[in-house]
């Protein structure tokens, strides 16, 4: 017959473990964020937090309502597929406050070569030039109108 008194110290160990587990359960209910597990194993609120981050690029639609004249010209030319901010940079702030925040005029001497400088890795269908040979340092808008860049007899700015 087993003498229970001799195993009593084991019960004390078990008690310590049980207290620790209980403490863990209490800690858990306190520390796990409320929205955790809402959609999966993550904090559900995080989705909303990330979706609410501020926007820097306004998107083409924002430009259209005020600058429809330029957009008409652009739509007919070779840059129809190039969005405004691809050249003009992020302008959400300007779209929010058009009079207060005025974008700086672009310098075509450095802007256009970012795309159009000749490079063997660029696809052959893409118009590219060795800028030194082509314009010898002159800014591109000397001859080209950026919003409708192909030169024909009346397209000079």
């Amino acid at each position: 017959m087993k003498n229970l008194k001799d195993a009593e110290h084991l019960l004390r160990v078990a008690a310590v473990f049980l207290v620790a587990i209980a403490l863990f359960a209490i800690l858990r209910s306190h520390f796990v964020p409320r929205s955790f597990g809402e959609y999966g194993h993550y904090r559900g609120d995080a989705i909303g937090e990330i979706a609410a981050l501020p926007v820097s690029f306004a998107g083409h639609g924002a430009c259209e309502s005020c600058h429809s004249d330029i957009l008409e010209k652009k739509k007919a030319g070779k840059h129809a597929g190039v969005s405004c901010e691809a050249c003009h940079g992020p302008l959400a702030k300007h779209a929010d406050d058009p009079a207060g925040i005025v974008p700086t005029k672009l310098d075509t001497a450095v802007l256009c070569v970012k795309c159009h400088e000749a490079n063997p890795a660029k696809p052959l269908w893409f118009p590219q030039v060795a800028s030194q040979d082509h314009s010898a340092g002159l800014p591109c808008d000397t001859c080209h109108q950026p919003h409708s860049p192909v030169i024909d007899s009346g397209a000079k700015k």
Binding site: P33, F36, Y39, G40, H41, Y42, R43, A46, I47, E49, I50, A51, A52, L53, P54, V55, S56, F57, A58, G59, H60, G61, A62, E64, S65, C66, H79, A80, G81, V82, S83, E85, A86, G89, P90, A92, A95, D96, D97, P98, A99, K114, C115, E117, N119, P120, A121, K122, P123, F126, Q128
Partner: protein, 243 residues
């Protein structure tokens, strides 16, 4: 000229629909965004990429990406006739300032934009010990930077090298597919800035999205298909030499 609020502008779907180069499918206004109605992906057309680096710069601007780290980047490949499995690849500062001539002549040369593939069976979310990185119901893999421990396990698990640790915040960071933009009916910053339409946001759940027709009529591929990550960035014109 009237000063129109940006919020009002975003409720003009007509203007946006006309823009097929940069925006795929019909955008929805922010208050009406329903996560279960979208399954986001991206189409990257290598035959159209000119390596201008606009996308890298735009992403860095839009998402405040720290210097020296990349949420998207462009690689330049030079492939000689044979053996084409050993290309010469470079990505100077991720292609952020374009590509200076590299003196490689002849052979096959092209650019490959890279980014997070928002994998459907993402190995990075699998290994996160606490649930700080996850996939949203609409198919975007995000990072909860308030919860991330910075253990870097996810960075190790990503086969594509698209993750990094933000040196100031000390948490993991990566492309969010501009979640804060696409849920408002805008396209991603990289697609917005791409001048040739080489990058296009796609919504696989939208039956009218051009991607369905594109995939039907072109040979497309994903990166490292043998790893079965369920990558959702679909490439057109992907060469065998691309790593």
């Amino acid at each position: 000229m009237n000063i129109t609020r940006r919020k009002v502008l975003m409720l003009l779907p007509a203007a946006a629909v006309a823009w097929e180069y940069v925006l795929a499918g019909t955008p929805e206004a922010a208050p009406n965004y329903n996560r279960t109605q979208h399954w986001w992906a991206m189409l990257i057309d290598i035959t159209k990429c000119i390596g201008c680096g606009n996308c890298v710069r735009a992403c860095a601007e839009e998402n405040h990406v720290p210097e020296g780290y990349f949420r998207t980047w462009v690689e330049r490949y030079h492939v000689d006739d044979w053996p084409s499995e050993n290309p010469i690849v470079d990505s100077p500062d991720g292609g952020k300032h374009g590509f200076p001539p590299n003196g490689e002549s002849g052979g096959k040369n092209f650019f490959v934009p890279k980014m997070c593939n928002h994998c459907a069976d993402s190995p990075c979310t699998q290994v996160c010990p606490v649930g700080a990185t996850f996939m949203t119901p609409d198919g975007v893999v995000l990072i909860d930077q308030k919860y991330c421990l910075g253990c870097r396990y996810c960075v190790q698990a990503c086969p594509y090298g698209c993750r990094y640790i933000n040196p100031d915040k000390k948490v993991a960071e990566k492309c969010t597919l501009c979640y804060h933009r696409i849920t408002k009916g805008l396209t991603t910053a990289c697609c917005e800035a791409c001048p040739t339409g080489a990058r296009q946001l796609a919504d696989l759940k939208n039956p009218n999205d051009p991607i369905h027709e594109f995939v039907r009529t072109h040979s497309v591929q994903v990166l490292k298909p043998h790893l079965a990550t369920g990558a959702k960035v679909i490439y057109n014109g992907l060469d065998r030499s691309v790593r």
